[in-house]
């Protein structure tokens, strides 16, 4: 196990140096990844139920990106590539949790109260809870298009699915989300 991790570290170091000679320096890549962090955090937050889990997901994705830097094709958009890595990391995470029998997070693991103002958090909380009820493939489509503002083409690329699949997932996700938020609004009034 230790040997494997050490080997991975060595590989990482070598790839960074190799990549330097290929195109950008590792400093430039580091800066570009760092500049994506706010968006990566937002994407992760739209998939997770709280910011802490979201930030763990971002960290996993960033670490994976550095490990697999050699898979970034020349001319490929770094943002799309990073979002794709995060998508895979999130799905892996879900699978692991299911294998362990953790169907969902415990109820008390909601939003960290210290993050922001209570009134604005409430709006985020409702939307986040509604997102959490969507099937994962619909959640991904909604997150990329409605939250991240990606075009259908770019979102389909990140998710590695045809455009038609993306639009149908997006449409179903939207319908479910609208119904969930309407229910929640009615629940508030009642």
């Amino acid at each position: 196990m230790n040997t494997r991790i050490r080997t991975e570290e060595n590989l990482l170091a070598r790839r960074i140096i190799e990549h330097e000679t290929m195109s950008d320096t590792s400093e430039e890549i580091g800066e570009r990844i760092a500049s994506l962090l706010p968006r990566l955090r937002r994407f992760a937050r739209s998939l997770s139920r709280n910011q802490h889990d979201a930030d763990d997901l971002v960290q996993t994705a960033v670490e994976r990106a550095w490990r697999h830097l050699d898979q970034l094709r020349p001319g490929a958009k770094l943002a799309s590539w990073m979002f794709g890595i995060m998508k895979n990391a999130w799905l892996d995470n879900l699978r692991t949790r299911r294998r362990r029998g953790e169907v969902a997070l415990p109820e008390d693991s909601g939003e960290h109260p210290a993050v922001s103002h209570v009134d604005t958090e409430a709006g985020l909380w409702a939307v986040s809870e509604a997102m959490n009820k969507l099937p994962e493939e619909q959640r991904l489509a909604v997150a990329l298009v409605l939250v991240e503002g990606m075009s259908y083409k770019e979102a389909a690329g990140v998710l590695e699915i045809p455009m038609g699949t993306l639009t149908s997932r997006l449409a179903r996700g939207r319908t479910a989300l609208a119904a969930e938020l309407a229910d929640e609004a009615r629940g508030d009034i009642a």
Binding site: A13, S26, E27, L37, R45, D55, L170, A178
Partner: protein
């Protein structure tokens, strides 16, 4: 013409080409129901974008900044060929102890015990002449302790 939900959604998202857009523009002008459906798509989109946009304004945790710049430590030379790894999960755990580590551990433990012994000797004025000669030359006591003689070697080397 009837428009399915996916088409209206794509219209609301600005994904249709000019010709399709013009068709739906015209249809909306004549059908308030159609206009309402498009409006609902736009409202949901605005709500989703608005709710999560505040994450962009939050400060990014340091651990993520470090992970993002993993190949570019601030104190590295310009070439950046020194790789700093993030402190937490990406770091490999230490390898298991081998003989060298165990010997080092045993040696420091022994040294600690011996130093303690030496201090006790000093307190009780029972330390040997050799130890006094090395460590406390001003002290002079005729008392001699055989038991502390291995300690004296260590104390001597330390002093």
């Amino acid at each position: 013409v009837k428009y399915d939900d996916e088409t209206l959604m794509a219209y609301a998202d600005g994904e249709l080409d000019a010709a399709q857009r013009a068709q739906i523009d015209a249809a909306i002008a004549q059908d308030p129901g159609l206009a309402l459906r498009v409006q609902e798509h736009r409202a949901l989109r605005a709500r989703m974008t608005g709710a999560f946009s505040r994450v962009l304004d939050q400060p990014v945790p340091d651990r993520l900044e470090v992970a993002a710049r993993v190949g570019t430590p601030a104190d590295a030379p310009a070439r950046g060929n020194v790789i700093k790894f993030p402190a937490r999960s990406a770091r490999a755990p230490s390898p298991p102890w081998r003989a060298r580590e165990w010997i080092a551990m045993a040696a420091s433990l022994l040294l600690g015990v011996l130093c303690h012994g030496a201090c006790s000797c000093r307190q009780t004025q029972r330390s040997s002449r050799r130890a006094r000669a090395v460590c406390w030359p001003e002290a002079s006591s005729p008392a001699h302790s055989r038991a502390s003689s291995p300690a004296n070697k260590a104390v001597k080397s330390e002093c």
